[in-house]
């Protein structure tokens, strides 16, 4: 089963969405993204992109240690697709450049900086590849585009349709989420389907949330543990896209449907959609992290975050790792760094509570 939406809006071709009181139940248009702008030479570019991805991954694993100073500071470039779906877009702000009038550009720039700061200051990682890779983002992708994604090279943000979703650069955790897909690409290379895909998603949520918690200097008990807070339009019944504290409770809305995330293995969803439910079943490892982090208390990015980071970057973690394999990697990482004790116990207990045993 997949969540489908039924709702109350209508859209005329090329016009603004308008909400109406009586509409056919299956009119699902209001979230539809960009209209007529299209990707040119898509086939050719996708082939080139695939080749580059493979090359990047091979290079990332074989790369020599970077010079001591490389990657100590971010090297950011923000581009503007100007409501087309042509990437990368026109450069509008480079590293060190002054803030511009466009809030989306500045939020993306600051979010890249906040993500870089967490990885560098807390985990000693020099940018997403560990070797000072420049950080690139494109904003204003498409028209009314209801999504943000990582294309293997850059973060891409839509403006949202304004009726259900707002600007995807607004939540800092969403920016951290997208860039962490880059970190995963350069480390564990978790395959984006099934349980390994849900782990890939969960790691993006975990470090996305930690980017926000670190920026706000919030302890685990004070954090909201939400992904995408501030992204849903005011008329939507919901607080965010996902909740790590209480998966399945982020929204319950006539247009969006109900948050389908399970918190434990009892609720694991078998589906072919969404790459095998990667955004659904990620609720399970998300909740395990939340449980471990709150049991340990204090700043979640310190011990719990360090253990998850160690597991993500451990050479033994396979690209097709399932939940149990990742759970085992975290427990092992906790023991390796902190010995037998509170940390390893809290981590093991967190996984056990969501029904995963390493």
């Amino acid at each position: 089963m997949e969540p489908t939406a039924h709702g109350a809006a209508d859209r005329t071709p090329g016009g603004r969405a308008c909400f109406c009181t009586i509409v056919p139940p299956h009119v699902l248009d209001r979230l539809a993204e960009a209209g007529d702008a299209a990707v040119r030479d898509a086939a050719r570019r996708s082939l080139a992109l695939d080749a580059r991805h493979r090359e990047n991954r091979v290079l990332a694993r074989r790369a020599a240690p970077p010079p001591a100073t490389a990657g100590d500071r971010p090297e950011r470039t923000v581009r503007d697709a100007r409501h087309t779906e042509h990437l990368p877009g026109r450069t509008v702000r480079r590293e060190g450049g002054a803030a511009v009038a466009d809030g989306s550009v500045n939020r993306a720039y600051d979010g890249l900086g906040a993500t870089f700061a967490l990885y560098r200051a807390v985990y000693g990682r020099r940018s997403i590849d560990g070797a000072g890779l420049p950080l690139d983002a494109t904003v204003h992708y498409g028209r009314d585009y209801d999504n943000a994604f990582w294309d293997g090279e850059r973060m891409v943000f839509g403006d949202g349709d304004g009726e259900v979703f707002g600007d995807f650069t607004v939540p800092l955790d969403v920016i951290g989420h997208e860039l962490t897909h880059g970190v995963t690409q350069y480390t564990a290379e978790l395959e984006y389907r099934g349980q390994s895909g849900a782990l890939n998603e969960s790691l993006s949520d975990v470090f996305g949330s930690l980017v926000k918690q670190y920026a706000l200097q919030q302890t685990a008990d004070r954090a909201d543990w939400l992904i995408g807070a501030g992204l849903l339009a005011p008329r939507v019944h919901g607080v965010a896209l996902r909740s790590m504290r209480a998966p399945g409770t982020a929204y319950d809305d006539e247009v969006l449907g109900k948050d389908p995330q399970p918190a434990t293995m009892d609720g694991y969803v078998d589906t072919r959609d969404d790459d095998g439910g990667v955004h659904i079943n990620s609720g399970i490892p998300n909740h395990a992290f939340y449980l471990a982090a709150t049991a340990l208390g204090g700043n979640a990015w310190e011990r719990a975050g360090q253990v998850w980071y160690d597991a993500l970057t451990s050479p033994g973690l396979r690209p097709d790792a399932d939940f149990a394999a990742f759970a085992a990697a975290t427990v092992e990482a906790a023991r390796a760094r902190y010995g037998e004790g509170r940390e390893a116990d809290a981590v093991a207990k967190g996984w056990a509570q969501v029904g995963v045993t390493g």
């Binding site: 859209r11 071709p13 299956h26 699902l28 898509a42 994604f149 896209l241």
Partner: protein, 88 residues
Amino acid sequence: MRISVTRTGGLAGIARRAELDTSARTDAPHVHALVREAMASGLRTRSFGVPDGFHYEITVDGRTVHCADPRLTEAQRELVSLVLQEGA
């Protein structure tokens, strides 16, 4: 001609589905041309997308093709937008 589009995935992981019947449309010849082009360049099996990218499944007369952001052809982009915006 009945065209159905299902969009799955995305950062939010929320599916959208819509169907469009071209029988009463004045632009049916244009839509049919789009369908031919979009189907010809679609993949028979689910494509491997990018993290958080949308996946699209286009079904016409019992035949289904797949495509995924950001690698849609112009025809696919126009068709999925049309069906998701104007379909029911």
